[in-house]
């Protein structure tokens, strides 16, 4: 049945993706919910939440109650914002992040942001997430809001400055993923900033000066394309991880890799010489221009079972949680954790820990 999950459980939703982009930027992030959504974001989808990183955004629940939702009391939200700003006068911006409740009541986020800007003389972002779409959609909405509000500068085609988009824990192999991505960019001759991790609003303000914008994920690529449209810099993929299967001895007939598309493509590139065919599948955005024949976007559990459960593959590389849905599969299964799927349950501490099972599967 479409929409029913019998074996899997819900993945990170759009509001978590949006909050992940904003998390390190020192803003006042207001999740417009009754309490549970902010709890899910901070407690389950944001590994940086417990690290108490200096300068991080403060994440609040708007703590909506039934009458707030029914009456649409935006003025009360503004009053609460004023109270929170008393304790966070240095907030660099205010962001209103949507959840299912305001999506039902039809909250006008743009008007809310305008009211906040007018009242508090701070930049305010309206991010209309709804808790029903996947996290990658929220990442794109947050990037779009940030770019519209902050990004400036003119491209210098001779510059070796680069932006790396899609750098959020939900899409990366481990906590060191952003640093490793910058190192890979440096090897290519670029001084890069990872937008989403280890960056500030000032980096976004200067983002327009980059001569190239790399993407670690399809949502990052959407941002890189926005940058191309706005400033003219080129948009390119940067593999989100480095996998070394050079010493492979084993061969497989046909492999299925399930992850965010660019991570799955990185795996395919590493193993394609040792497999008859490698297909990529994702529950999230699929950029057609990077998809090969046989690659697929899956709408949910049934499509995954149909794709992976018919023993057409002898190797499945996917988040360990997905294994529950294909108990009768005879394919070899290689864990390839995705934070947006299994959160901290299977989260590797390092990129090396992330790639090791895949590399060992071919050894």
């Amino acid at each position: 049945m479409k929409g029913l999950y019998r074996f899997l459980s819900p993945f990170a939703s759009d509001q978590s993706g949006a909050a992940a982009v904003l998390f390190e930027l020192g803003g006042l992030v207001v999740v417009c919910d009754a309490g549970g959504c902010a709890g899910n974001i901070c407690g389950f989808d944001e590994p940086r939440f417990y690290l108490k990183k200096a300068g991080a955004s403060a994440v609040f629940s708007a703590c909506l109650r039934d009458m707030d939702a029914i009456m649409g009391r935006d003025d009360k939200l503004i009053e609460k914002t004023a109270l929170a700003l008393r304790d966070f006068p240095g907030a660099k911006f205010i962001a209103f992040v949507g959840t299912p409740v305001p999506s039902i009541t039809g909250t006008d986020f743009k008007a809310l942001a305008l009211m906040a800007e007018s009242n508090f003389k701070k930049p305010a972002l309206a991010i209309e997430t709804n808790g029903m779409e996947t996290y990658d959609k929220g990442i794109v909405k947050a990037y779009k809001a940030l770019l519209e509000k902050f990004a400036d500068g003119a491209v210098d085609s001779k510059s070796r400055a680069a932006g790396i988009w899609g750098a959020v824990p939900l899409d990366l192999p481990s906590a060191e993923g952003a640093k490793k991505a910058r190192e890979r960019a440096r090897e290519m001759g670029y001084e890069a900033v990872t937008i989403g991790m280890d960056s500030t609003t000032d980096d976004i303000k200067r983002a327009g000066a980059a001569s190239v914008n790399f993407a670690l994920s399809p949502s990052g690529f959407a941002a890189a394309k926005m940058m191309r449209e706005k400033f003219g810099a080129s948009a390119k993929i940067l593999p989100p991880v480095e996998i070394n299967a050079a010493g492979a001895r084993k061969k497989f007939r046909r492999a299925l890799v399930v992850h965010q598309q660019f991570m799955a493509i990185a795996a395919r590139e590493a193993i394609k010489n040792f497999c008859g065919q490698v297909d990529v599948a994702t529950f999230f955005s699929l950029e057609k221009e990077f998809a090969a024949q046989g690659d697929k976007a899956m709408g949910g559990e049934d499509e995954f079972i149909a794709a992976a459960g018919e023993n057409q593959y002898d190797l499945i590389i996917a988040d360990p949680l997905l294994r529950r849905a294909i108990p009768n599969s005879r394919a070899a299964f290689v864990p390839f954790p995705h934070y947006a799927v299994s959160a901290q349950i299977h989260a590797p501490k390092t990129d090396r820990e992330f790639t090791a099972p895949l590399e060992e599967a071919f050894a």
């Binding site: 029913l4 819900p10 549970g36 403060a58 609040f60 008393r86 029903m132 949680l321």
Partner: protein, 435 residues
């Protein structure tokens, strides 16, 4: 301590009373700051027993959560860690469902699919609805009735309506009513009582069991101890329900209305004299006499022994404790210890203890865990010896950590003994302890 952080002394709060409760203690009056401490308990689906896990206390059951992905996201982790993944099913709502309500029509088929998938086939399906259906005005009862007709199973609606947290039936009150809603009027067993209020079992060491026996009550049933639906249904035979947590009053009222089973309430207390008095009143209400001396002496000895080792010990008390934070603080102060900090929002019931706490320890500083200014509460060193509560250890990094939030529920004199034993253990180990 940063003066911008909201706090109030016990004396000032007692004088204000419940009706004058400062708005900083009312989450809906401001944003709720997402600190690790807040997250531990604030969300209706938070750690420990949130709505979803609590509902699964019904034996031979599965849950179908009907809602947007974000509402079920925490179950990905919690259900896996706490071992109930195989009993959770999700009917994911889309944006078009908001307009068409099509998700409601899918519920009977989804319930059937869930029952077919779980092995052995469950007898009960709990269908959990979220804020979304609260706002849409979806007819949850009717959807569950149709699912029951289709499947032949018991299908129970339950409500994870965070929007109603400060209403008359907040989520954790409503879920307590839901999990007992299958009990039916049966021939009464005068020697049987139900212990209601907790989703996990009362400590087997508690003197409550032998005391009930001494009053002629042979069976003290608990939902967490029922392995089968038949055992659960037997709870319908109880002569009365014994409420051990105030959030179960609504459930008890519902049971009184539906099955005619009356109820009595016993509070979980840490003041030895009050525990004794409560037991005496309870026994006299049942026309019985009880002897509590030996348990009382053991509890008294535990307090005295602890005092000898940690005379003048200073405690901070948080929200996530197997106690009323205010009654526990009052008891500690009455035993001669100090409680410089309480980080917990008081309930109306807690004001029963606040007056006396204000007289013994008027300067105790009380913080609201959810108020935005708590973001400014930095680690506090050297001001307390014990940090009691699962949620506050980070605030007091050099204090002995006593979670006191274990799943096995302490009660009565035994709780006092165990509490001080845990504190001693934490002080010795310097690490975390916590039944």
């Amino acid at each position: 301590m940063n003066e911008k952080i909201f706090s109030i002394t016990a004396d000032a709060l007692a004088r204000k009373g419940w009706k004058g409760l400062p708005k900083e203690f009312v989450p809906s009056c401001a944003f709720v700051y997402s600190s690790p401490a807040t997250l531990s308990y604030n969300s209706p689906g938070a750690l420990g027993f949130g709505v979803k896990r609590a509902a699964l206390a019904v034996p031979e059951s599965v849950m179908l959560l009907v809602g947007p992905d974000c509402c079920g996201r925490n179950s990905t982790v919690l259900a896996s860690e706490e071992g109930y993944s195989a009993r959770m099913f999700y009917l994911r709502m889309s944006q078009s469902d908001l307009v068409t309500g099509a998700h409601i029509k899918k519920i009977p088929d989804a319930v059937e699919a869930a029952l077919e998938t779980a092995k052995p086939r469950p007898k009960v399906a709990l269908v959990c609805f979220t804020c979304v259906d609260a706002l849409l005005g979806s007819d949850a009862e009717s959807a569950c009735k149709k699912a029951a007709e289709k499947t032949g199973a018991f299908v129970v609606p339950c409500y994870m309506y965070a929007l109603t947290r400060e209403g008359s039936k907040p989520p954790m009150t409503a879920i307590r009513a839901s999990i007992y809603s299958l009990l039916q009027r049966r021939e009464k067993n005068p020697r049987m009582v139900n212990l209601i209020g907790f989703f996990s079992s009362l400590s087997k060491k508690s003197e409550l069991f032998p005391l009930l026996k001494s009053m002629g009550i042979e069976t003290a049933a608990q939902i967490s101890e029922c392995a089968t639906l038949d055992e659960y249904m037997e709870m319908g035979r109880a002569n009365f329900n014994l409420i051990l947590d105030g959030e179960s009053r609504f459930a008890a009222e519902e049971l009184l209305r539906r099955t005619g089973t009356p109820y009595i309430e016993l509070a979980r207390l840490y003041d030895i004299d009050k525990i004794e008095k409560q037991y005496t009143l309870f026994a006299s209400a049942l026309g019985a006499k009880i002897e509590t001396r030996s348990w009382k002496e053991n509890a008294r000895r535990a307090v005295d022994d602890f005092r000898k080792k940690f005379d003048g010990a200073r405690f901070a008390v948080g929200q996530m404790v197997n106690a009323s934070p205010y009654e526990l603080s009052l008891s500690l102060c009455a035993y001669g210890f100090h409680v410089p900090f309480i980080i917990a929002s008081p309930t109306e019931d807690d004001f029963k203890y606040l007056g006396r706490l204000a007289r013994i320890s008027p300067a105790t500083k009380i913080f609201s865990p959810t108020t935005p200014s708590m973001a400014l509460f930095k680690e506090t060193r050297g001001e307390v010896d014990f940090a009691v509560g699962k949620d506050i250890a980070d605030y007091f990094p050099d204090a002995a950590r006593v979670s006191w939030n274990g799943e096995e529920q302490p009660f009565g004199f035994e709780a006092v003994e165990d509490f001080f034993a845990e504190c001693s253990r934490a002080a010795r180990g310097g690490g975390e302890a916590g039944a």
